[in-house]
């Protein structure tokens, strides 16, 4: 056997056993490794940790000897833009297909169903109140006044019809304003002028997205249409503009913002 073949056999033996580092010279020098030399060598799985002879690595210290495999094709399983859209506005048969949606085509496929669902939810309460479902429909919400000014009466001259609202919601994306503070929605001074109203600039951990959604769906022109109030000749209206709960988690103001697991 030729000398260089022996040398390479030895080198590959070194590589296989990893107990020694090998200098690629004819002297075939043996270099000892240690758990304090500041480099990842021997059987170590991180710098001076892991392997056969060193202390186990702390979390995050371990190094991948080979780069991980990221190959392959990945197919969409779940989808989310705004909170609660699929949960509240999709009928059960649509919930799985909806997660296969892409935002650019949701309105085309789902807007009409969302609108029917919104009216259907109003019918549930018509029935409970002993009213004719045909008489109890979605009423244009506070967005009309906010978008058009308070001189546009929310009940008669308001562009935010069930069709308009469900079209907006069917563009199921979370809008985040890069140059403005984040507010999911805030009606400002409230009805009738909604002074200082702002919204759709993102979603913070503290935003009460459920109450906002309920107000836009069931609040009518003043935001309080179904608010548990007594209505003469009808009875007690259901409370549909707030679910009655506030945040119970403890977000922080510093990264990663979410509280430690409980």
């Amino acid at each position: 056997m030729k000398l260089y073949t022996i040398k390479y056999m030895f080198l590959s033996l070194c590589a296989a056993t990893m107990f020694v580092a090998c200098d690629d010279d004819d002297a075939l020098e043996m270099v000892e490794t240690s758990c304090t030399d500041g480099i990842m060598n021997g059987t170590e799985t991180g710098v001076d940790c892991g392997g056969a002879s060193c202390e186990p690595c702390e979390e995050g210290e371990e190094m991948m000897v080979t780069p991980p495999d990221f190959s392959g094709t990945y197919a969409q399983v779940d989808f989310m833009g705004r909170p609660g859209i699929n949960t509240v506005l999709s009928i059960p048969d649509f919930k799985d297909p909806y997660n296969q949606a892409v935002p650019s085509t949701i309105a085309e496929f789902y807007q009409k169903d969302f609108e029917n669902r919104l009216e259907g939810l109003h019918d549930v309460y018509a029935e409970l109140l002993g009213l004719n479902p045909e008489d109890v429909n979605y009423q244009p919400n506070i967005l009309g006044d906010i978008l058009n000014g308070p001189d546009k009466d929310g009940f008669t001259d308001n562009i935010v019809s069930a069709e308009v609202l469900t079209t907006v919601l069917a563009n199921d994306v979370l809008e985040i304003a890069p140059d403005l503070p984040t507010t999911y929605f805030n009606g400002g001074s409230g009805a009738p002028n909604f002074e200082g109203a702002i919204g759709f600039t993102g979603r913070t951990l503290q935003d009460d997205v459920i109450d906002v959604s309920l107000i836009l769906l069931f609040g009518g022109g003043d935001g309080a249409r179904f608010n548990g109030q007594e209505v003469e000749g009808v009875g007690t209206f259901p409370r549909l503009v707030s679910d009655g709960v506030a945040i119970t988690a403890n977000p922080t103001d510093t990264f990663p913002y979410l509280g430690a697991p409980e």
């Binding site: 995050g60 991948m64 304003a177 600039t201």
Partner: protein, 226 residues
């Protein structure tokens, strides 16, 4: 409304075994109990630096028993999609996928294909962070992007029990008043991905919201290896 609509509304009651929890937790039978179930999505201006945007994606939840919770799935690629020109098609994508004890992030980059099929953008590595356990392990890349992956409190709040009665037509009073209502998510945890990124990296947007304010239009998807 027609009577058929009424039945349609009341028909929600008839769905046996369909447990629905907003915001997106367990929102559909096909994702329930699945490691790819998106629980929630947040995007907001950083409280500590108004020039940064924070994205939070919550995967999985332990709000109900017997659901997938506690381990990121190596076969699930999470994508934050960002539309910067108002056509609701992603112009930039940020990806996260775990390998062993580490969460790897890629992007933000222009995706080679848009829509429902994805590949890991290995040509655009963003950074990596060790997956946390109880305490938060975070890292910040040289370009100023902070990363986190691990279990955290589920910050969502909602009286889910009463919601199901409301849509089922068995709650004539509607939701309960403050003090009586119960936050179903009190004490719940989720597997969170948190990323804080300078807006300068995301770049300009021409998208606008319904109030005419300039916005990124964003959404999140989970994608399973085929």
């Amino acid at each position: 409304m027609k009577k058929t609509k009424l039945l349609f509304g009341m028909g929600i009651l008839a769905v046996v075994g369909a447990v629905l929890v907003a915001a997106d937790h367990i929102d559909a039978p096909g994702t329930t109990g699945n490691t790819a179930d998106i629980a929630d999505f947040y995007g907001f201006e950083s409280p500590s630096n108004p020039g940064n945007t924070v994205f939070i994606v919550d995967l999985q939840t332990n709000v109900l028993e017997d659901l997938a919770y506690g381990t990121f799935d190596e076969n699930v690629l999470t994508e934050i999609n960002i539309d910067t020109n108002n056509d609701l098609i992603e112009d930039l994508v940020i990806q996260a996928i775990p390998r062993k004890d580490t969460m790897y992030f890629f992007g933000p980059a222009i995706p080679s294909t848009t829509g429902k099929s994805s590949e890991v953008m290995i040509g655009s590595p963003l950074g990596q962070v060790a997956i946390s356990t109880e305490s938060a392990l975070t890292t910040t890349t040289e370009s100023g992007i902070s990363l986190f992956a691990g279990p955290r409190q589920d910050a969502f709040f909602f009286d889910f029990g009463q919601f199901n009665k409301v849509i089922g037509g068995t709650a004539p009073e509607g939701f309960l008043p403050a003090g009586e209502a119960v936050d179903t998510f009190d004490g719940a945890n989720t597997m969170a991905l948190v990323l804080e990124i300078p807006n300068s990296i995301l770049g300009e947007t021409t998208g606008t919201n319904v109030l005419g304010l300039k916005v990124y239009k964003t959404w999140v998807t989970t994608n399973r290896k085929q």
